[in-house]
C-alpha cells in the first residue's frame, strides 16, 4: 500500500540480529565438540524459537481482536489451567504414575485441556453474546482466578516432596525440553501459522473496528472465533513445551509495534518474532555463560517483559 521501505529495512536488521544471536549461541565455548553441541543446543534453539514465535504471534492477534495493546492472552486464564492441570494430576496420581512419567501423555493432555477449556468458553460466548469480547475476557479472568485458587488449595494439601517436583515444572524452563515434543509441536504450530499468514489482510481490516470490518465483508464474529482458537493452540503449545511465560509475547508484540510502525500483520508478526527470538537467545546466552545456570531464563524474560509492561502502563496513564 504505502512505502514499506523502512519496515523492510528494520525487519532485515532484526533477521540479521536473530541469526547472529543464533550463531553465537550455537558456537560460543564449543571447543570443537560439534556433534554433542549441535544436538544439545540445537534442541534448545528449536524450543526457544517455537516459544518465541507462538507467544509473539498469539499476543499480536490478541491485541488486534481486543483492540487493546496492554493485554496478554494469559488474561483468559490458560496458564492457570495449565498449572491447575499439573497440580491436580500430581495430586491424584502421585509422581510415580506412568501418566506423569510419560512426557507425551502429559504434553498431549495439558495441551488438550487448555484448548478444550478455551473452546468451551468461546463456544459459549460467541453463541450467546456475539461481539462482546470484553465480557468474554472478564469471564476468562474470573475463571483464571478460580483455577488459581483451586490450585493453591491443592498445593497446600499435597505431599511436600511432590510439591517440589511440581514447582520445578511450573517454572518455565528451556533447559530440559524433550526433543520429541518439538516435532509434535511443529505439527500443530505450522498449520496455525500458515492459516494466520493466509488471512493476514483480513486481520488488518479488523483494525478498522467491528462495524467497518463487517461493512468490508469480513464475518467478524466467526473470524474472531477462529483467531481465538488459533491463539489458544499457540499459547497451549508454548506453555506445554516450557511452562508459562507471561510477558514474553507482550514484550515482542509491543516492541514490534514500536520498531516497525505499520498496521500490516504479516510484517508485525515476522518482525516481532525475529525480535523475540533474538531477545530470548540473548537471555539464554547470559544464563549459560554469564550466570552459569544460577538463574532461570524465565526469570530474566519475566523481569524485562514485566518492566516493559509497567513502563507502557505508566506511559498510557500520562496520555489519558
Amino acid at each position: 500500500m504505502t512505502d514499506n521501505k523502512h519496515v523492510y529495512r528494520n525487519i532485515f536488521i532484526a533477521a540479521i540480529l536473530a541469526m547472529i544471536m543464533a550463531s553465537i549461541y550455537m558456537t560460543i565455548g564449543s571447543r570443537g565438540n560439534w556433534s554433542y553441541i549441535l544436538s544439545l543446543r540445537g534442541k534448545k534453539l528449536a524450543a526457544l524459537t517455537i516459544v518465541s514465535i507462538c507467544s509473539t504471534t498469539a499476543t499480536i492477534l490478541f491485541h488486534t481482536i481486543t483492540q487493546n495493546r496492554i493485554l496478554t492472552p494469559s488474561i483468559i486464564g490458560m496458564d492457570a489451567i495449565y498449572i491447575f492441570f499439573q497440580t491436580i494430576s500430581l495430586f491424584l496420581f502421585g509422581h510415580n504414575h506412568w501418566f506423569l512419567q510419560n512426557t507425551y501423555t502429559n504434553f498431549f493432555l495439558s495441551t488438550v485441556s487448555m484448548t478444550c477449556f478455551s473452546l468451551l468458553l468461546y463456544w459459549f460466548f460467541f453463541k450467546n453474546f456475539p461481539g462482546r469480547i470484553y465480557l468474554l475476557l472478564m469471564t476468562g479472568l474470573i475463571l483464571g482466578t478460580f483455577f488459581r485458587s483451586a490450585t493453591s488449595f491443592l498445593q497446600v494439601l499435597i505431599d511436600p516432596n511432590e510439591f517440589l517436583i511440581l514447582q520445578n515444572r511450573l517454572f518455565a524452563s528451556f533447559n530440559n525440553v524433550d526433543s520429541s515434543l518439538i516435532n509434535v509441536s511443529m505439527i500443530v504450530v505450522l498449520p496455525v501459522l500458515m492459516y494466520i499468514f493466509y488471512k493476514n489482510k483480513a486481520m488488518d481490516v479488523l483494525h478498522l473496528g467491528r462495524t467497518n470490518a463487517i461493512g468490508l465483508g469480513v464475518n467478524v464474529d466467526r473470524f474472531n472465533l477462529i483467531l481465538f482458537i488459533s491463539i489458544s493452540l499457540l499459547v497451549s503449545i508454548s506453555t506445554a513445551l516450557v511452562g508459562p511465560v507471561m510477558f514474553l509475547g507482550f514484550l515482542g508484540a509491543n516492541v514490534s509495534y514500536k520498531l516497525f510502525k505499520t498496521y500490516q500483520h504479516w510484517l508485525l508478526i515476522i518482525g516481532g518474532c525475529l525480535f523475540t527470538i533474538s531477545f530470548v537467545l540473548f537471555g539464554q546466552i547470559l544464563i549459560e555463560h554469564v550466570f552459569k545456570f544460577q538463574t532461570a531464563l524465565s526469570i530474566i524474560l519475566e523481569f524485562v517483559g514485566g518492566s516493559y509492561f509497567l513502563y507502557i502502563l505508566l506511559k498510557e496513564k500520562e496520555v489519558a
Binding site: 500500500m1 504505502t2 483492540q67 487493546n68 495493546r69 493476514n200 489482510k201 483480513a202 488488518d204 481490516v205 483494525h207 478498522l208 473496528g209 462495524t211 467497518n212 463487517i214 461493512g215 468490508l216 465483508g217 469480513v218 464475518n219 510502525k261 498496521y263
Partner: protein, 251 residues
C-alpha cells in the same frame, strides 16, 4: 432494489423497529428522517447486516440478506457509521485502500489505485493523502471515511448521519458528491439525516420514522408539508417555497 418486509428489532423489552415494510427505490437518494430514537439508525444497521434483525425479511437485489455471502455483499453494499476510532496509525490513503478489500483482499491492482485516487480527489483529500489520520480534524476524518466507502464502489451506499462533524461548505460538497453518484453513476444511497433542509434539498425520497414505525414515505415534494413535519417531529414549523425548493423553518 432493497425490499423490507415486516422487519422488527427489539432490545430487551423495548421495540426499536416495529414491523417495517417498505421498498427502497433503486437509483435514488433516499433520506431517513425522524426524531431521535425513532429507529432510523437501527433500520440502517439491519439493512447493512451490522445488527441482526429479529423478524422479517430484507431483500437486496432479490436475495435475502442471510443468503448473501459476507464477502459478496460487501461488493454490493457499503455502510458508514458515525463514530470511528482507530487504534492503529494509518495514512488517509491506507485507510481509503481498505475500501478495495472486498475485491482484492489487500492486493491492489491498477484499477484499485485509480479508484482510490478518484475517491480522494472527490472528497478533497488528495493533497494530504499521506497524512496520518490521527492528525486529522473531525471533518477531515469523516471525509476520509467517505472516500473509503466510495472506493468500495458498491451499488448501494448506506450512510448514517454523514454530515456529522462537517461544516457548511463540506456538508454541501458532500451532498453534491452523493447527488453525482446517484445521478451519474446510478448508485442507490440511503442516508440518515438530521437536518431536514438538507434532506429536502437533496433527497429524492423520504422515509419518516416515528417510534419504530414508518410514519410516512414518499417523494420529497409530497412529504415536506407543514402538517407532515409537524406530525413527525411534534413541533410547529413553517414551510417556505423558494425557487422551487422547500425550506422548513423550525426556529
Amino acid at each position: 432494489m432493497i425490499d423490507l418486509n415486516q422487519v422488527s428489532k427489539s432490545y430487551k423489552e423495548k421495540i426499536v423497529v416495529d414491523t417495517v415494510t417498505i421498498p427502497i427505490e433503486k437509483g435514488k437518494l433516499t433520506a431517513c428522517i425522524g426524531p431521535n430514537g425513532a429507529g432510523k439508525t437501527t433500520l440502517l444497521e439491519m439493512i447493512s447486516r451490522l445488527v441482526p434483525k429479529d423478524t422479517g425479511e430484507i431483500y437486496i437485489d432479490g436475495g435475502e440478506i442471510k443468503s448473501w455471502k459476507p464477502g459478496e455483499l460487501a461488493k454490493k453494499l457499503s455502510v458508514l457509521k458515525q463514530s470511528n476510532k482507530f487504534s492503529m496509525r494509518l495514512t488517509i490513503k491506507e485507510l481509503v485502500s481498505f475500501g478495495r478489500f472486498p475485491y482484492t483482499k489487500g492486493r491492489l491492482n491498477a484499477h484499485c489505485h485509480e479508484l482510490i485516487e478518484q475517491s480522494l480527489r472527490q472528497v478533497g483529500l488528495l493533497e494530504i493523502a499521506d497524512q496520518y489520520i490521527d492528525t486529522l480534524s473531525g471533518g477531515q476524518l469523516q471525509r476520509a471515511m467517505i472516500a473509503m466507502v466510495l472506493a468500495q464502489d458498491t451499488d448501494y451506499i448506506l450512510l448514517d448521519e454523514p454530515l456529522n462533524n462537517l461544516d457548511m461548505k463540506y456538508s454541501v460538497q458532500l451532498m453534491d458528491i452523493i447527488r453525482t453518484f446517484v445521478d451519474d453513476f446510478g448508485k442507490t444511497v440511503i442516508t440518515v439525516i438530521h437536518d431536514i433542509n438538507f434532506a429536502a434539498a437533496y433527497a429524492d425520497n423520504l422515509i419518516a420514522m416515528k417510534e419504530g414505525k414508518v410514519f410516512a414515505a414518499g417523494p420529497v415534494e409530497q412529504m415536506i408539508t407543514q402538517q407532515n413535519i409537524k406530525n413527525i417531529f411534534d413541533i410547529d414549523v413553517e414551510v417556505i417555497d423558494r425557487k422551487g425548493k422547500k425550506f422548513v423553518m423550525y426556529y
